[in-house]
Symmetry: C2
Subunit: 260 residues, 2 copies
Amino acid sequence: MPPFTSITIIGAGNVGSHLGRALAAVGQPVLEVFSRDKGKAQSLAAEIGAQPQSELAQLSAAADLYLLAVSDDAIGLVAADLCAHLPSGKAVAHTSGGTPSEVLAAHFQRYGVFYPLQTFSRERETDFSAVPLCIYSPNSSFEAALLALAHRLSRSVYRIDDAQRAVLHVAAVFVNNFANQLFHFGQQIVEQEKLPFDLLRPLILETARKVQDADPQAMQTGPARRGDAETIRRHLDYLQKFPELAQVYEIMTERIMGSA
Amino acid sequence: MPPFTSITIIGAGNVGSHLGRALAAVGQPVLEVFSRDKGKAQSLAAEIGAQPQSELAQLSAAADLYLLAVSDDAIGLVAADLCAHLPSGKAVAHTSGGTPSEVLAAHFQRYGVFYPLQTFSRERETDFSAVPLCIYSPNSSFEAALLALAHRLSRSVYRIDDAQRAVLHVAAVFVNNFANQLFHFGQQIVEQEKLPFDLLRPLILETARKVQDADPQAMQTGPARRGDAETIRRHLDYLQKFPELAQVYEIMTERIMGSA
């Protein structure tokens, strides 16, 4: 028997869509898809065999799990709204890395977190079975059900409490947002010289692949790791035309030298 | 007819090994593999059907291209040595992103660069056909031959002069060494909380995949991009236990906010 007989997804953005498709793919029934954007609700619902809904007040009370896949600042508001329209006793989980589970506590007794630690985009398919799912609820039977659901979707399931999840979110900013910003810097530099970013793309991919089964520190190379002061000086000379990048170069070089 | 009838590879480290295998795979004859480390010379030579050599003075003069796959600081010295032992008129190219072609000019008339813009490691196979090859020689007929050789190995071949290559090398430090250092920071943070680095690995890989067919700036997400001051403040509070990471967090956050 599946851990939940029917699930309603609130939010049809990137997380809601990828999660909805993953649920459908393992045969987990999705009852309704809610989005204020009627078109989004309809297209995701049609894709995964659910009913679309764009009025929160009209949501069916028949689901036994409501998954909130909305932006961090909307979680509290949507939870309050949902609580006003659903009979008491319903179970709710949000899907965010950045928001404590307690924002749901004022509105629901059975609340928790179902956080996929991945970056999703509209254009790209995701192998959901490889996405780490971070599960938490202070209610242990509800948590067990969320964990069981997670294990149906992914081979990488973790029990992660609010404090741990907050830390994971900081780490995710470093490896995702900041790394992506470095890729942007790389693009700025090569395009300034009228060279295509395609020159750097294979290097970016291989750098990420290398740490899939090794530690980043063991994989480090380059002038900072070698302590090659002459090359570093030449690079900083060149970066005089990008003062904001020069500062990043200096700090990252210091860090690499310091952790060698 | 192949652009070169036989090639000798000087250096059996990561670049020399991957290049040697790629040459063998397209049926480009490799005459000799030189390494001061006899074992390395022998094992690579055996693998690609070449002769091993660990005495530079004994190198055959029969090759029509000598590829220098040695560390940056050794290029000049090895070129001088090589020049002393080979008859005049031999053609030489180095494989480095960080060294101007001119270091070869004192020793050879036909000199150039054959730079694979990729990070290689002993343990990992590389799809050489996707590796950008950056080719240059001031001698146009030699450059044409190097370009022809490159096109046999890769679908991604560029003519890149010394100045452009120096810039590429700076960009490569950002997207490879510095990104890898961010991955190391991510690992430090999660391991401090006794969480496994495996939680972050899929995110790292997907972040790199996303920019394979999109611009990094368009892919940016997270608290800095959203201008989410509350989350940024919480992250910096947490990072008080990692002052060196806090400084990187602040600067990268500023940069993302500034380039939004």
